[in-house]
């Protein structure tokens, strides 16, 4: 069990391509940390640098305080689950799992015992004599996980391990991986581009974009307190709704105005917006933070464009100018296509972002 520290790590491919830029991070002991970002954001490169599969251009990486930056992969005491599983096709499942243990020079009885233990843990004890070619994708995935936990590593790396599985299996594997993490208590770094995967598994999420860290925080942090437009848009299904608004002050009162809405802002938010100085800002509201209200209390009104019943709730889409706004509403009362929808929101639930820097103002 260990901590993992990135200290100003930069990775360049060739001279121009910067994959990771001055990346600093501390991963705590027993933590389940998720690197989340769109493809090409440098999250996998970060992980490969931890494994030693990618050289670090600048900066240091240390595990448990020990600098591992220049160590070969085998001396780092990490293990990894690869995206395409990377189970060796010419070895049986047993030999795949036992590979690392054999290289460590463990005794045969101990190896067999460990292999059986981890096979039970990932629910494949009956497949030990098979070859990977005879297994389904999900089973190969389990072999890859078993192989990784068999070595009892100090750091456990997972590079998009669920992305090749079908949707249903992916969701159930999340739970299993999380349970395995609970029982092994290994410090885990998990890479994914799927925000719902990240949200459901992570202790903390590191959101990356273009080789830089955008936000580090718990799933609740990144969801409710997104630091900029990118995070607010990337996290959550459906994502945050954005509207361009203007700040207008009439006497002491402060309003957010555009062609469809005008809402009075008070208190801390108002003073904050007044201080901001710029007039044009972006208003962000999560779909579930809209309330369906009577016409008299409405801030925004529009015709329902699409209504998607989801059982427990319904997703309603309306169109303001050219922009689609999605609202998560309770399942009752049912809204039909074409119905007039009256919406309101609480001041505490709205977020305001700067138009140029895209950073959050309040």
């Amino acid at each position: 069990m260990a901590t993992l520290t990135f200290n100003n790590v930069t990775k360049r491919f060739g001279k121009k391509v910067v994959a990771v830029k001055e990346f600093s991070l501390e991963v705590y002991d027993k933590e389940f940390l998720v690197f989340l970002g769109p493809s090409g954001c440098g999250k996998t490169t970060c992980m490969r640098m931890v494994a030693g599969l990618e050289e670090v251009t600048e900066g240091r990486i240390s595990i448990d305080g020990k600098d591992v930056t220049d160590l070969p992969p085998r001396k780092r005491d990490v293990s990894m689950v690869f995206q395409n599983y990377a189970v060796w096709p010419h070895m049986t499942v047993h030999d795949n799992i036992a590979f690392a243990l054999k290289l460590m020079g463990r005794k045969k009885e101990i190896i067999d015992k460990t292999v059986h233990e981890v096979a039970v843990m990932v629910k494949i004890p009956e497949l030990l004599d098979r070859f990977p070619g005879q297994l389904s994708g999900g089973q190969q995935q389990r072999v890859a996980v078993a192989r990784a936990i068999a070595v009892k590593p100090s750091i456990f790396l997972m590079d998009e391990p669920l992305s090749n599985l079908d949707a249903k299996l992916r969701v159930s594997m999340r739970t299993e991986l999380k349970a395995i993490h609970q029982s092994t208590q290994a410090t885990t770094v998990f890479v994914t581009h799927d925000q719902s995967e990240a949200m459901s598994m992570a202790d903390r999420i590191v959101i990356m974009k273009d080789g830089e860290v955008i936000q580090i925080g718990t799933p609740d942090d990144v969801y409710h307190e997104s630091v900029n437009l990118f995070v607010a848009d990337f996290i959550g299904t459906p994502p945050t709704n954005f509207m361009g608004v203007e700040i207008s002050t009439e006497g002491k009162a402060c309003f957010l105005i555009n062609s469809h809405l005008k809402t009075r802002i008070s208190g801390e938010l108002a003073s904050c917006l007044k201080k901001h100085g710029k007039q044009k800002v972006i208003l962000g509201i999560r779909p579930e933070n809209f309330d369906l209200v009577d016409e008299s209390k409405a801030i925004v009104s529009a015709d329902c464009l699409v209504a998607e019943p989801q059982g427990s709730h319904q997703v309603i889409a309306i169109k303001l100018d050219e922009q689609i706004i999605k609202i998560i509403a309770p399942e009752q009362p049912k809204v039909n296509i074409g119905d007039r929808v009256h919406l309101s929101f609480e001041q505490e639930k709205i977020r305001v972002y700067d138009r140029e820097s895209e950073k959050r103002i309040r």
């Binding site: 030693g52 599969l53 070969p72 992969p73 293990s79 990377a86 189970v87």
Partner: protein, 354 residues
């Protein structure tokens, strides 16, 4: 229209017939020379120079012995003519014995001939049948060409050496071409094929000069070096494509799980590349084993087996059936080798999923 009756379809039938005609003729074209060679290697010398050539070797010969002008007149039954043909008239029984073995393929001792002559005293004509020794050509090949066995050993040495050299150098180069990107990689990969563009005979003379200088003329090592040049090129291409087909993550996984680069190669890359390496080995073997032209030029007193077979056809003792026997002997290691590595080749071209 619900009932679908099988109707006679002349187009389908013609198609099928044509297909089978083509398949049969292709098989025939491939198998006929092989059949001819095998059959020839079992024929007696007398039969192998007859026209038309007997399709199959006969197992026995019927002889007729009678008194002749100079001694004893020996005739052999000719199946094609359906009559006895005189082969010799002599009183030298040793000569007759040798002739019966060497030319007629029926080993007969002098005592056996004397036995028949003894029978001749009571009657004018004696008929007797002798079994043809089917392997007499093979025995004769190794007896007459006294260099055949050492040449066989030399050829095997050359082949093993060629495989080792071309697989180690070509395999490493192939791995480099597959795994690393460097300036001029594609040009370099293409240029290894250059050496195969020159006919062996054209570069034979410079080869002789070079081999004499480094002391490997008329030496298996020298020939192995020459053969390796050509087979390295092929090995590079075969192994490069095989190594490219092995995902890098398999190697990376091995390294993460505690293997050194060497262990990764031995335990992961090598076993997965085995089909390609086997194919490359087969090509190297076939090339080195069958090569004759360069071997004629580059050897003098230590010829390879292919040169010995060649000489058995064109040399002073040249006989077509002996050459055929030599050819069969020469084909045996190739067939065995190909059958051994067939499994791996099948994996490669039968689509082993990595």
């Amino acid at each position: 229209m619900a009932s679908k009756k099988k109707r006679f379809n002349p187009y389908k039938l013609a198609n099928k017939a044509l297909l089978y005609i083509i398949i049969t003729s292709v098989a025939f074209t491939i198998l006929l020379p092989v059949f001819f060679l095998v059959s020839l290697s079992f024929l007696t010398t007398r039969d192998s120079y007859k026209f038309p050539l007997p399709l199959l070797p006969s197992l026995t010969s019927d002889y007729k012995l009678e008194y002749g002008e100079r001694g004893y007149l020996l005739s052999i039954f000719d199946k094609a003519e359906e009559d006895y043909a005189t082969v010799m008239d002599t009183e030298d029984l040793e000569k007759m014995s040798i002739y019966m073995e060497a030319r007629l393929g029926t080993p007969t001792t002098i005592e056996e001939i004397e036995e028949q002559i003894a029978r001749l005293e009571t009657r004018n004509i004696v008929y007797f049948t002798k079994k043809i020794d089917l392997l007499h050509n093979f025995k004769a090949f190794f007896l007459i060409t006294n260099d055949a066995f050492p040449a066989l050993v030399r050829s095997l040495q050359i082949c093993v050496l060629t495989i080792l050299i071309s697989l180690s150098i070509g395999g490493m180069a192939g791995y480099a071409f597959a795994r690393y990107s460097f300036a001029g990689r594609d040009a370099l990969k293409f240029s290894v094929l250059f050496v195969r563009m020159f006919p062996g005979i054209a570069i034979a003379l410079p080869m002789v000069v070079i081999l004499i200088r480094i002391g490997f003329y008329d030496n298996p090592i020298g020939l192995a070096l020459v053969y390796s040049i050509g087979s390295i090129a092929l090995t590079v291409w075969i192994t490069a494509s095989i190594f490219m087909g092995i995902p890098v993550t398999l190697e990376e996984a091995a390294q993460v799980f505690g293997a050194t680069k060497m262990q990764t190669f031995i335990r992961i890359t090598f076993p997965l590349a085995l089909p390609g390496l086997a194919a490359a080995a087969m090509y190297a073997f076939l090339g080195a084993w069958n090569e004759t032209v360069a071997a004629i030029v580059l050897t003098q007193f230590n010829p390879t087996f292919s040169v010995v077979v060649y000489q058995s056809l064109v040399g002073a003792v040249g006989q077509v059936n002996l050459a055929a026997a030599g050819g069969i002997v020469m084909a045996v290691p190739t067939v065995i080798f190909t059958f051994i590595i067939r499994r791996y080749i099948n994996q490669m071209w039968g689509g082993m999923s990595v």
